[in-house]
Protein backbone atom coordinates (compact mmCIF):
# COMPACT_ATOMS: atom_id res chain seq x y z
CA UNK A 1 0.00 0.00 0.00
CA UNK A 2 0.90 3.65 0.06
CA UNK A 3 4.06 4.05 2.06
CA UNK A 4 5.60 6.97 3.86
CA UNK A 5 8.53 7.12 1.45
CA UNK A 6 6.31 7.47 -1.65
CA UNK A 7 4.49 10.38 -0.13
CA UNK A 8 7.69 12.09 0.99
CA UNK A 9 9.25 11.80 -2.47
CA UNK A 10 6.02 13.16 -4.03
CA UNK A 11 6.26 16.09 -1.60
CA UNK A 12 9.90 16.76 -2.50
CA UNK A 13 9.26 16.66 -6.25
CA UNK A 14 6.21 18.94 -5.99
CA UNK A 15 8.20 21.35 -3.81
CA UNK A 16 10.88 21.52 -6.48
CA UNK A 17 8.29 22.15 -9.22
CA UNK A 18 7.01 25.10 -7.16
CA UNK A 19 10.56 26.31 -6.56
CA UNK A 20 11.24 26.14 -10.30
CA UNK A 21 8.27 28.45 -10.88
CA UNK A 22 9.60 30.86 -8.25
CA UNK A 23 13.09 30.94 -9.74
CA UNK A 24 12.42 30.92 -13.46
CA UNK A 25 9.10 32.69 -14.08
CA UNK A 26 8.51 36.42 -14.28
CA UNK A 27 4.72 36.35 -14.35
CA UNK A 28 3.52 37.06 -10.81
CA UNK A 29 0.45 34.83 -11.21
CA UNK A 30 2.72 31.91 -12.09
CA UNK A 31 4.90 32.69 -9.07
CA UNK A 32 1.82 32.60 -6.82
CA UNK A 33 0.85 29.26 -8.37
CA UNK A 34 4.35 28.03 -7.51
CA UNK A 35 3.89 29.15 -3.90
CA UNK A 36 0.58 27.26 -3.77
CA UNK A 37 2.21 24.09 -5.09
CA UNK A 38 5.01 24.43 -2.51
CA UNK A 39 2.47 24.78 0.31
CA UNK A 40 0.67 21.64 -0.86
CA UNK A 41 3.99 19.78 -0.99
CA UNK A 42 4.82 20.73 2.60
CA UNK A 43 1.37 19.60 3.75
CA UNK A 44 1.93 16.25 2.03
CA UNK A 45 5.25 15.76 3.82
CA UNK A 46 3.62 16.59 7.17
CA UNK A 47 0.83 14.08 6.57
CA UNK A 48 3.28 11.42 5.48
CA UNK A 49 5.26 11.86 8.70
CA UNK A 50 2.05 11.54 10.75
CA UNK A 51 1.59 7.89 9.90
CA UNK A 52 2.79 5.55 12.60
CA UNK A 53 4.42 2.63 10.84
CA UNK A 54 4.81 0.58 14.01
CA UNK A 55 1.12 -0.22 14.44
CA UNK A 56 -0.21 0.89 11.03
CA UNK A 57 -2.55 3.54 12.44
CA UNK A 58 -2.94 7.00 11.07
CA UNK A 59 -2.46 9.76 13.56
CA UNK A 60 -5.54 12.02 13.25
CA UNK A 61 -3.65 14.72 15.10
CA UNK A 62 -1.15 14.92 12.24
CA UNK A 63 -3.79 16.56 10.06
CA UNK A 64 -4.15 19.58 12.34
CA UNK A 65 -0.93 21.32 11.37
CA UNK A 66 -1.66 21.11 7.62
CA UNK A 67 -5.10 22.60 8.39
CA UNK A 68 -3.46 25.63 10.04
CA UNK A 69 -1.06 25.83 7.09
CA UNK A 70 -3.98 25.79 4.63
CA UNK A 71 -5.71 28.61 6.53
CA UNK A 72 -2.57 30.76 6.52
CA UNK A 73 -1.91 29.89 2.88
CA UNK A 74 -5.40 31.09 1.97
CA UNK A 75 -4.72 34.46 3.59
CA UNK A 76 -1.32 34.76 1.88
CA UNK A 77 -2.77 33.94 -1.52
CA UNK A 78 -5.65 36.42 -1.12
CA UNK A 79 -3.24 39.23 -0.22
CA UNK A 80 -0.85 38.28 -3.04
CA UNK A 81 -3.57 38.26 -5.67
CA UNK A 82 -4.93 41.58 -4.37
CA UNK A 83 -1.44 43.10 -4.78
CA UNK A 84 -1.26 41.68 -8.32
CA UNK A 85 -4.59 43.27 -9.31
CA UNK A 86 -3.68 46.62 -7.76
CA UNK A 87 -0.31 46.62 -9.49
CA UNK A 88 -1.92 45.70 -12.79
CA UNK A 89 -4.26 48.70 -12.49
CA UNK A 90 -1.26 50.87 -11.72
CA UNK A 91 1.46 49.63 -14.10
CA UNK A 92 -0.60 47.62 -16.65
CA UNK A 93 1.71 44.66 -16.18
CA UNK A 94 2.00 41.45 -14.20
CA UNK A 95 5.76 41.18 -14.70
CA UNK A 96 7.70 40.73 -11.46
CA UNK A 97 10.58 42.89 -12.74
CA UNK A 98 8.19 45.80 -13.21
CA UNK A 99 6.91 45.63 -9.64
CA UNK A 100 10.32 45.40 -7.97
CA UNK A 101 9.87 48.65 -6.13
CA UNK A 102 6.06 48.58 -5.69
CA UNK A 103 5.79 52.33 -6.25
CA UNK A 104 6.02 54.94 -9.00
Amino acid sequence: MLEQLHFMILGIVLFCVGLYALLSKRNVIKILMGIEIMTIAINIVFVSLGKNIANETFLEFAQIFPLISIAIGAAVMAVGLAIVINNYRHAKSVDSDEMATLKR
Binding site: F7, L10, I12, L23, P66
Partner: protein, 167 residues
Amino acid sequence: MMSLVIIYVFMILAILAAVFAIECRRLMFSVIGLIAMNAFIWILLLLYNATLLAWIQLIVYGGGFTALFVVVVALTEKQRDELFDWKRSVIALVIIAIIVGFAIWAVISSSGYLPFGTFEIIESIELLWSERVMDLILQAIVFFATSIAIGTLFISHKKKVKKEAEA
Protein backbone atom coordinates in the same frame (compact mmCIF):
# COMPACT_ATOMS: atom_id res chain seq x y z
CA MET B 1 0.80 -4.88 -6.38
CA MET B 2 -2.08 -3.52 -8.41
CA SER B 3 -2.79 -0.79 -5.87
CA LEU B 4 0.88 0.23 -5.91
CA VAL B 5 0.73 0.69 -9.69
CA ILE B 6 -2.40 2.86 -9.32
CA ILE B 7 -0.64 4.96 -6.67
CA TYR B 8 2.40 5.46 -8.90
CA VAL B 9 0.15 6.47 -11.79
CA PHE B 10 -1.63 9.07 -9.65
CA MET B 11 1.67 10.39 -8.27
CA ILE B 12 3.09 10.83 -11.77
CA LEU B 13 -0.15 12.44 -12.96
CA ALA B 14 -0.07 14.90 -10.05
CA ILE B 15 3.53 15.88 -10.87
CA LEU B 16 2.75 16.21 -14.59
CA ALA B 17 -0.28 18.38 -13.83
CA ALA B 18 1.88 20.64 -11.66
CA VAL B 19 4.49 20.96 -14.43
CA PHE B 20 1.71 21.70 -16.95
CA ALA B 21 0.32 24.40 -14.65
CA ILE B 22 3.74 26.05 -14.46
CA GLU B 23 4.81 25.69 -18.09
CA CYS B 24 1.55 26.33 -19.99
CA ARG B 25 1.62 29.69 -21.78
CA ARG B 26 -2.11 30.39 -21.45
CA LEU B 27 -2.94 31.23 -17.84
CA MET B 28 -6.48 29.81 -17.97
CA PHE B 29 -5.04 26.39 -18.90
CA SER B 30 -2.56 26.76 -16.04
CA VAL B 31 -5.50 27.11 -13.66
CA ILE B 32 -7.01 23.94 -15.14
CA GLY B 33 -3.69 22.19 -14.50
CA LEU B 34 -3.84 23.30 -10.86
CA ILE B 35 -7.37 21.87 -10.53
CA ALA B 36 -6.17 18.55 -11.99
CA MET B 37 -3.22 18.47 -9.58
CA ASN B 38 -5.50 19.11 -6.60
CA ALA B 39 -7.85 16.33 -7.73
CA PHE B 40 -5.01 13.80 -7.99
CA ILE B 41 -3.64 14.80 -4.59
CA TRP B 42 -7.16 14.47 -3.16
CA ILE B 43 -7.27 10.85 -4.39
CA LEU B 44 -3.81 10.13 -2.95
CA LEU B 45 -4.74 11.60 0.45
CA LEU B 46 -7.90 9.47 0.50
CA LEU B 47 -5.79 6.38 -0.24
CA TYR B 48 -3.52 7.40 2.66
CA ASN B 49 -6.57 7.53 5.02
CA ALA B 50 -6.18 11.29 5.62
CA THR B 51 -9.88 11.87 4.91
CA LEU B 52 -10.37 15.16 6.76
CA LEU B 53 -7.36 16.81 5.15
CA ALA B 54 -8.26 15.42 1.72
CA TRP B 55 -11.70 17.03 1.74
CA ILE B 56 -10.54 20.34 3.21
CA GLN B 57 -7.71 20.45 0.69
CA LEU B 58 -10.14 19.85 -2.16
CA ILE B 59 -12.54 22.52 -0.91
CA VAL B 60 -9.97 25.22 -0.12
CA TYR B 61 -7.29 24.67 -2.78
CA GLY B 62 -9.36 23.03 -5.52
CA GLY B 63 -12.33 25.33 -5.03
CA GLY B 64 -11.50 28.60 -3.31
CA PHE B 65 -8.03 29.34 -4.67
CA THR B 66 -9.04 28.28 -8.15
CA ALA B 67 -11.94 30.74 -8.12
CA LEU B 68 -9.53 33.48 -6.98
CA PHE B 69 -7.04 32.60 -9.74
CA VAL B 70 -9.77 32.56 -12.39
CA VAL B 71 -10.92 36.05 -11.30
CA VAL B 72 -7.36 37.43 -11.37
CA VAL B 73 -6.57 35.87 -14.76
CA ALA B 74 -9.83 37.25 -16.15
CA LEU B 75 -9.03 40.74 -14.82
CA THR B 76 -5.51 40.70 -16.32
CA GLU B 77 -6.70 39.01 -19.49
CA LYS B 78 -4.52 40.74 -22.06
CA GLN B 79 -1.37 39.63 -20.31
CA ARG B 80 0.07 36.48 -21.85
CA ASP B 81 2.88 34.64 -20.19
CA GLU B 82 6.40 35.68 -21.24
CA LEU B 83 8.52 33.69 -23.72
CA PHE B 84 10.62 30.81 -22.48
CA ASP B 85 13.72 32.29 -20.84
CA TRP B 86 16.56 29.77 -21.37
CA LYS B 87 19.12 31.41 -19.10
CA ARG B 88 16.80 31.66 -16.10
CA SER B 89 15.40 28.18 -16.62
CA VAL B 90 18.82 26.50 -16.83
CA ILE B 91 20.05 28.24 -13.66
CA ALA B 92 16.82 27.31 -11.86
CA LEU B 93 17.06 23.69 -13.04
CA VAL B 94 20.66 23.38 -11.81
CA ILE B 95 19.71 24.72 -8.35
CA ILE B 96 16.69 22.43 -8.21
CA ALA B 97 18.67 19.36 -9.33
CA ILE B 98 21.07 19.92 -6.42
CA ILE B 99 18.18 20.36 -3.95
CA VAL B 100 16.28 17.30 -5.24
CA GLY B 101 19.36 15.11 -5.11
CA PHE B 102 20.21 16.19 -1.59
CA ALA B 103 16.62 15.91 -0.31
CA ILE B 104 16.00 12.46 -1.74
CA TRP B 105 19.35 11.25 -0.43
CA ALA B 106 18.49 12.63 3.03
CA VAL B 107 15.03 11.02 3.03
CA ILE B 108 16.23 7.62 1.88
CA SER B 109 19.22 7.54 4.20
CA SER B 110 17.07 8.34 7.26
CA SER B 111 13.98 6.33 6.36
CA GLY B 112 14.78 3.54 8.80
CA TYR B 113 14.78 5.94 11.72
CA LEU B 114 11.49 6.83 13.40
CA PRO B 115 11.51 9.45 16.13
CA PHE B 116 8.42 8.65 18.21
CA GLY B 117 7.98 8.66 21.93
CA THR B 118 9.47 12.08 22.60
CA PHE B 119 7.21 14.13 24.84
CA GLU B 120 9.49 16.70 26.39
CA ILE B 121 11.22 19.57 24.63
CA ILE B 122 14.65 18.76 26.06
CA GLU B 123 14.29 15.17 24.83
CA SER B 124 13.47 16.38 21.31
CA ILE B 125 16.42 18.79 21.30
CA GLU B 126 18.76 16.00 22.41
CA LEU B 127 17.36 13.80 19.64
CA LEU B 128 17.84 16.57 17.07
CA TRP B 129 21.41 17.10 18.20
CA SER B 130 22.37 13.42 18.29
CA GLU B 131 20.46 11.98 15.32
CA ARG B 132 19.59 14.86 12.98
CA VAL B 133 22.66 17.11 12.91
CA MET B 134 22.24 17.49 9.14
CA ASP B 135 18.79 19.09 9.67
CA LEU B 136 20.27 21.70 12.00
CA ILE B 137 23.08 22.49 9.56
CA LEU B 138 20.61 22.84 6.67
CA GLN B 139 18.39 25.14 8.73
CA ALA B 140 21.39 27.33 9.50
CA ILE B 141 22.33 27.42 5.79
CA VAL B 142 18.78 28.39 4.78
CA PHE B 143 18.69 31.10 7.45
CA PHE B 144 21.99 32.66 6.36
CA ALA B 145 21.16 32.38 2.65
CA THR B 146 17.88 34.20 3.25
CA SER B 147 19.53 36.98 5.22
CA ILE B 148 22.20 37.41 2.53
CA ALA B 149 19.52 37.50 -0.18
CA ILE B 150 17.56 40.20 1.67
CA GLY B 151 20.77 42.17 2.16
CA THR B 152 21.65 42.02 -1.55
CA LEU B 153 18.12 43.13 -2.41
CA PHE B 154 18.56 46.27 -0.31
CA ILE B 155 22.04 46.96 -1.73
CA SER B 156 20.90 46.62 -5.36
CA HIS B 157 17.89 48.84 -4.65
CA LYS B 158 20.16 51.52 -3.15
CA LYS B 159 22.48 51.35 -6.18
CA LYS B 160 19.49 51.74 -8.50
CA VAL B 161 18.28 54.79 -6.60
CA LYS B 162 21.80 56.32 -6.74
CA LYS B 163 22.03 55.74 -10.51
CA GLU B 164 18.62 57.33 -11.03
CA ALA B 165 19.68 60.33 -8.93
CA GLU B 166 22.91 60.73 -10.93
CA ALA B 167 21.02 60.52 -14.21
